[in-house]
């Protein structure tokens, strides 16, 4: 029996905030994952473009140097935006996002970045359009040839792709960290963490789906790097929260003994980062063959990370008993 009893009762029972905030469901973590994945593709493939790599195969593939990944990016970002759209409460007014730019609103930044992502991806696809597209619009053929042969265009596009990808990957984290009312998100590390996770997921995919064996090995190695960075960022995030105010420490405790502990350490960290790290390390050092197992775990782990952060974040709050 505690020495001094404290009881806090409120009559507030609005469905969105009682007992804790729950305004965002599966749509937002799904978007965050797909957005991060697309961002990773844009950074990695953009880097390949910028470095002058070209696709050795006659048709688009999921190699970094090829437009296959950029096309996949168009699909994943579209799916992500569909998820975002489904989440909106006032869907008929979504176009309001594009009548204004609010510099203090990361979501406003995001809505414009998302708009920018499309032309960048489309331009990159244009460098190596699929045959079906060329048959549909024959004028694309010579245009793409001209662009693809111009090194400056390739490098410029690669650079823009990287920058846009970094913006896309980071802003989702900033969007959450700007919401200071939810202490779990209140860290500058959330943006880099989401970027690292997006890079990791896309590298994992490339590791799995690239037709070039050397590139697959490279991507596994790169993915491991990103996974280690992700682990480090998670560690720093939790340490930062736990050593900050009581509200932040209580938020960190949600995954350090609280209701989200199991799913976080087993799902996100264990199965999503550590296990694939081990598997991929063994594959990279050629002790075992490369299989899809690790990449799949990495991608599922990335999705799980978004779910935990979004759900646990809404659960965290500023305590009221003072």
């Amino acid at each position: 029996m505690s020495p001094v009893f404290s009881e806090f009762v409120t009559t507030a029972h609005s469905p969105a905030t009682d007992p804790r905030l729950h305004v965002w469901g599966y749509e937002i973590p799904v978007y965050l994952f797909l957005g991060g994945f697309t961002a990773g593709i844009m950074v990695l493939s953009g880097w390949a473009l910028w470095r002058g790599r070209r696709n050795p195969r006659p048709h688009p593939t999921f190699s970094l140097a090829s437009s296959g990944l950029f096309m996949l990016g168009l699909a994943t970002i579209s799916l992500g935006m569909l998820a975002l759209f489904l989440d909106l409460g006032h869907k008929a007014y979504v176009w309001r996002l594009y009548l204004t730019m609010k510099p203090w609103s990361p979501m406003s930044w995001g809505s414009w970045i998302l708009l920018l992502v499309y032309p960048v991806l489309a331009a990159a696809v244009l460098l190596e359009p699929p045959a079906r597209l060329v048959r549909l619009i024959p004028s694309i053929g010579p245009l793409s040839q001209r662009l693809a042969d111009d090194m400056r265009v390739r490098r410029a596009l690669g650079f823009v792709s990287m920058v846009t990808g970094i913006g896309l990957g980071i802003y989702t984290g900033i969007l959450l960290s700007a919401l200071g009312a939810r202490p779990l998100w209140s860290s500058g590390l959330l943006g880099p963490l989401f970027l690292a996770s997006g890079l990791s997921s896309s590298a994992a995919f490339a590791h799995w789906a690239s037709p070039e064996p050397e590139e697959r090995r490279q991507m596994a190695w790169l993915d491991n790097l990103f996974l280690v960075i992700e682990l480090a960022l998670i560690g720093m995030l939790l340490i930062g929260l736990a050593s900050s105010t009581e509200a932040h420490a209580e938020a960190a405790r949600l995954v350090l003994g609280g209701p989200f502990t199991a799913v976080f350490w087993i799902g996100v960290v264990g199965l999503g980062i550590v296990l694939p790290l081990v598997i991929q390390s063994l594959a990279v050092t050629q002790r075992i063959i490369h299989t899809p197992i690790a990449p799949i775990l990495v991608m599922l782990g990335g999705l799980a990370l978004r779910f935990v952060i979004v759900y646990a974040g809404q659960y965290s709050h500023w305590p009221r008993l003072s």
Partner: protein
């Protein structure tokens, strides 16, 4: 977007919101647009007075585009001073309540099964009249009794009197205020009344015995309570529960339930023993003080300590505090006083304590209220009943000054002193209002006729033979409210909106029934407006004036002895009776004595109940606005006891009382704010009537668990805090 266009958007939003919103929650309830006929446009305000409880605050209702919008207090009103309580503010919900009765109903199977046939008013009232006349022929008109609560029962009382029955009772006497009124009548010769004549706003010291002002929301009382707090008055609260009022108190006394008389006696002992009482006042107005002083001599704080659990120096300190502020020290008489069966004596003890402090008739204590003179309507004389009232045969309860509901019930069950075969019940849910539901049902089964007039289909309506739907206060005229208060006034209730279905006002029901009973001569007025105007003209006013203003006040007369009110006491000695010879003559204690209340079975908790500020008894739980504020009650259990039992706040439990009655599931509130030996819940929930769809199954009913009660031998009040419960976890 520039600022101007944003503002324009806001204006459009505002207008759009209100139109959309009135079509929102309340207005979109099916078929409940208030206006019939051409839809009006614009804002219309109508003054009336509230009916959510019995205070009758004057209000102004606002209608927007033909739909009832909101209700606010009338700034001219001395009761509400322009501000209604949450129930009054939520009164719009009474109009929009989808669980309202819509048409007259005739029972279609056995009593209590709640199977009905909808009929016309003609059929329903014809049936009632037929049955009443049959009862009259066989048993006499006295065999029909009226139970009613509130001003709306006035015309039904008139009809029943015209019919020839003397039997009419309100539960507010024997189940509520009766004991304290008896106690004050025995001491000062006058009852406390309602609104209570308590000068809280001027009190420098306010003592509350179990009274939980702030949760008990009688508007003027709470407003004055806040004024007293704001002006720094000392608040002393004795309550087994740390109520809202207790949280405002300088001294909170965690008294053992049922031992208030011991505390009161000890306080009186200190005041007398230390000579702190108002000697001049007592000498001028008191009778039998010496005998009284010697009676309270043994009841020292040390004697009271083991009984009450309150330390002796706390008793002394609080007694001295009371004396320090006299005569502006008000020991509040409470309102619902039917607790342990010795409640009239407790009321008397409170009266005596006030008498010692000299607060009766003085500023900050009890003032003399006044009322306007509005003559009654000149009716023909009522027939003299062949037999006397049935509720208190041979004055077995010698000091009952009003009819005893449970006495009528007993006569109905036993047939003695004579049979009661018909009940007309207006606006009181007897199943939850009277103790021991089983007896009420037994009585009902002995009836030839049970008629219930109400706004919603409550539990008592479920047992009726005929259910008559009344229009809400927002849809009807009413008897005038000629209030007895600090400032006298007369107030009008008038329709604001149309009824939502085939509901009728009580005056119409009473008159039509009278006509069918052949008593049309007792309703000489053609329209209710004619009736009201006639009465008002007798006071130099008119209906037109009242329709516009809602109320008309008279100037505040002198209300304190200090202002010249002559001290007069309608007691046998014509003085304040410190020692009551009439009590002694009837075999009762002339000065209150303490009797320890019986303990409950080991491991059980005493069941206590009280009020919430957003509900009135069991009648508002289907009001959609108020139900949103509080949809169910909780059972308060001491946190340490809860931990011992492995229970946590939010767990669902059932309460089982000493007779094995099991309650509905109810949420637990584990709290430090209550003693370990009792549990508490708000009265009025745990509805079982199928017609109360919004409230069905929400929370538990304390009334269901009150199977035992102690009857006060002085006036027949039914003490209900004598039941004990254990808690069972709901699977």
């Amino acid at each position: 977007m520039n600022n101007v266009s944003r503002r324009r958007f806001l204006k459009i939003t505002g207008a759009g919101a209100s139109v959309a919103a009135t079509a929102g929650v309340l207005g979109s309830l099916p078929g409940l647009r208030a206006a019939k006929g051409p839809v009006e446009k614009g804002i219309r305000t109508v003054p009336t007075f509230c009916d959510l409880c019995f205070w009758k605050c004057n209000a102004i209702a606002t209608v927007k585009d033909g739909v009832l919008w909101k209700i606010e207090g009338n700034p001219e009103d001395p009761l509400s001073r322009g501000r209604l309580c949450p129930r009054g503010t939520g009164g719009v919900g009474a109009h929009f309540d989808t669980d309202r009765l819509r048409a007259p109903l005739l029972r279609a199977s056995v009593r209590g099964e709640e199977k009905w046939t909808e009929v016309t008013w003609d059929e329903a009232l014809g049936h009632v009249a037929e049955k009443m006349l049959k009862i009259k022929a066989e048993y006499g008109p006295e065999a029909v009794a009226l139970f009613s609560h509130g001003i709306g029962g006035t015309f039904l009382k008139h009809t029943l009197k015209a019919f020839g029955s003397p039997n009419s009772a309100a539960p507010s006497y024997a189940q509520c205020r009766g004991p304290r009124d008896a106690g004050f009548e025995l001491t000062f010769g006058e009852a406390i009344g309602s609104p209570e004549r308590t000068d809280i706003q001027n009190a420098r010291c306010l003592v509350l015995i179990g009274s939980h002002l702030g949760e008990n929301m009688h508007n003027t009382q709470v407003q004055e309570f806040a004024d007293a707090i704001g002006s720094g008055a000392t608040i002393i609260v004795a309550d087994p529960r740390f109520s809202i009022a207790a949280s405002k108190a300088k001294h909170y006394l965690p008294i053992k339930p049922g031992t208030d008389i011991a505390l009161l006696l000890a306080w009186m002992n200190v005041l007398v023993g230390e000579g702190l009482y108002d000697k001049e006042y007592v000498a001028a107005h008191g009778f039998g003080f010496e005998a009284f002083a010697s009676e309270v001599l043994p009841f020292t704080p040390e004697w009271a300590y083991p009984e009450t659990g309150i330390e002796p120096d706390v008793i002394r300190e609080t007694a001295r505090e009371m004396a320090r502020h006299r005569p502006a020290t008000l020991v509040h008489p409470g309102r619902h006083a039917t607790w342990y069966g010795d409640d009239a004596q407790r009321g008397r003890a409170i009266a005596l304590l006030n008498a010692l402090l000299g607060s009766w008739g003085r500023k900050g204590g009890f003032y003399q209220p006044a009322s306007m003179n509005v003559p009654a309507y000149p009716y023909p004389p009522y027939p003299k009943p062949a037999r006397g009232k049935v509720d208190n045969p041979d004055h077995r309860y010698p000091f009952a000054s009003e009819a005893i509901t449970t006495g009528i019930r007993e006569a109905t069950i036993t047939g003695k002193p004579y049979p009661v075969k018909g009940w007309v019940v207006y606006a009181t849910n007897l199943i939850q209002a009277l103790p021991n539901e089983a007896e009420t049902i037994r009585a009902i089964q002995a009836l030839d006729l049970l008629v219930v007039v109400d706004v919603v289909g409550s539990e008592i309506a479920g047992w009726a033979d005929v259910v008559l739907p009344e229009a809400t206060y927002l849809e009807r005229y009413e008897e005038l409210n000629v209030e007895l208060f600090r400032e006298p006034f007369v107030a009008l209730r008038q329709p604001v909106v149309e009824p939502t279905a085939d509901q009728k006002p009580n005056w119409w029901i009473a008159r039509e029934l009278a006509v069918k009973l052949g008593l049309g001569a007792f309703y000489p007025w053609k329209t209710i407006e004619e009736y009201l105007d006639h009465r008002l003209k007798g006071a130099g006013l008119s209906l037109a004036v009242l329709q516009k203003k809602g109320l008309v006040s008279a100037p505040r007369p002198p209300i304190y002895y200090e202002e010249g009110v002559p001290p007069q006491f309608a007691t046998p000695s014509k003085k304040i009776e410190f020692y009551s010879v009439q009590l002694k003559d009837k075999g009762f204690d002339p000065v209150p004595r303490f009797k320890r209340p019986a303990a409950g079975p080991p491991g059980s908790f005493r069941l206590l109940f009280g009020r919430a500020p957003v509900h009135t008894f069991s009648r508002t739980q289907t009001n959609p606005v108020l139900a949103q504020a509080m949809s169910e009650n909780e059972v308060w259990l001491n946190a340490d006891e809860a931990e011992r039992a492995g229970l946590r706040t939010g767990d669902r439990v059932r309460l089982r009382n000493q007779d094995g009655v099991l309650s509905n599931p109810i949420k637990l509130k584990a709290t430090q704010a209550i003693r370990a030996d009792c549990v508490y819940l708000v009265h009025g929930f745990g509805h079982t009537a199928k017609g109360l769809r919004r409230a069905l199954g929400k929370g538990a009913s304390d009334a269901q668990l009150v199977t035992r009660y102690e009857t006060d031998p002085l006036m027949g009040g039914t003490g209900m805090n004598v039941n004990f419960v254990t808690l069972e976890r709901e699977a």
